[in-house]
Amino acid sequence: MLAVDPLRSDRPLIVYVDYKSPYAYLAVEPTHRVARSLGVAVDWRPLTLDIPSYLGSAKLDREGKVVEAQRSAGQWAQVTYAYKDARRYASLRGITVRGTTKIWDTRLAGMGMLCAKGQGDTELRRYSTLVFERFWKRELDVEDPAVIAAVLREAGGDAAPFERELASGGRARYDQLQRAIFDAGIFGVPGYVVDGEYYWGREHLPRIRWILAGRRGPAPDVAYQHFA
């Protein structure tokens, strides 16, 4: 597993994502657009959210009825709003964001991401696209190592490093990496690190673009906006 400084990279922009976050999913395309327009390489990294620790937890049946919950009314309001908000932006782009029935453990998918990343930007982009799309259509069991290995192969990569990592204590190393990221103050996705500063949410892309482009002119405000 990679030993990395959570706030530093040899690329000018670090982006943290978790496949179970619809906001991370929505951020991928505009982030690619900003990076492409500036000719900037992105260092994509996994950040596996521990959602119950700050938003409570719940399980729903297939009809969307709550069968188990440890959430306050305020936490429910936030979660309900977040899904609705993500869906309306997703629908404008033809992206499917189905409701989930439980909080998924996406650590294996994160390990798969690191494996794909080790094989190249093309493999990583294909892998992430497949995982995000299928997970949010509820077509992917991200807790099944065989499923992750299959996606890696489908993305044009080699699944063997992932399987070797799993078989040699890779989960513990991945958890250690996640603790280091969290200890650095990076707690939410999509998370951007530029010039050593952390930004949470794709609404910061206008400012991130401004920083990467040399901070010319007035700094823009937060906004969900269109990027060509």
């Binding site: 657009r33 521990d50 700050y54 936030q78 404008l92 707690f187 500063e197 700094a219 269109h226 990027f227």
Partner: protein, 201 residues
């Protein structure tokens, strides 16, 4: 109609105010300004050896939010001071409800003055004379409203907003849809101008 919900002690509401007024001007319409009194922005709790992941997450988030508010305020030349200030904004919230019934066209200007009182002058928004001054010539009948209807109407307003799905500020309501945060302003503009061009991402 676009409705905007604000709490005068919320730094996020304050940072959203001018961009929201600018959108009002661009669209040439008056937004409906509504008050919502919420708890102050949580102050990060000091670290303690027994902190669990949730406590550490809340602290990291609270510290981040303060930094984030500061960097965007700085970009606009605003010195906010203590972003966690816990002043009582009940009175200006009641005044805004009163104004909505008596002179709603002045609601935006009233909000501007109260935000200035709280964030530039560090004034006490619970000071009746300061709020009456902000109401200006529309203050007639305000004291009677305070004694008669204000508390009940503010509570009813909060219930109605909660039922509509408003849990934070600034919140924007458009055709029953709730948008939390000023990052949605491009979406509001896109919706209000007939969905012309590419939508915000």
């Amino acid at each position: 109609m676009i409705a905007v919900c604000v709490d005068f002690k919320s730094p996020h509401s304050y940072l959203a105010f001018e961009p929201t007024r600018a959108l009002e001007r661009r669209l040439g319409i008056d937004f409906a300004w509504w008050p919502l009194v919420l708890p102050a922005l949580p102050r990060p709790k000091p670290a303690s050896p027994g902190d669990d992941r949730g406590a550490r997450h809340r602290r990291a988030r609270a510290e981040y939010l303060a930094r984030d508010i500061a960097r965007y305020a700085e970009a606009r030349g605003l010195a906010l001071g203590d972003v966690h200030r816990d002043v009582d904004t009940t009175l200006p919230a009641q005044a805004l409800l009163f104004l909505r019934q008596t002179a709603s066209e002045r609601a935006g200007a009233f909000c501007a003055r109260v935000f200035e009182l709280v964030w530039k002058e560090n004034a006490n928004p619970a000071d009746t004379s300061a709020i009456e001054a902000a109401l200006g010539s529309a203050s007639g009948g305000f004291r009677a409203y305070l004694e008669r209807d204000a508390a009940r109407e503010l509570a009813e307003n909060a219930r109605a907003l909660a039922e509509a799905g408003v849990w934070s500020v600034p919140a924007y309501l458009v055709d029953g849809d709730v948008f939390i945060g000023r990052q949605h302003l491009p979406m509001l503009e896109w919706l209000a101008t007939g969905r012309a061009g590419e939508p915000p991402l």
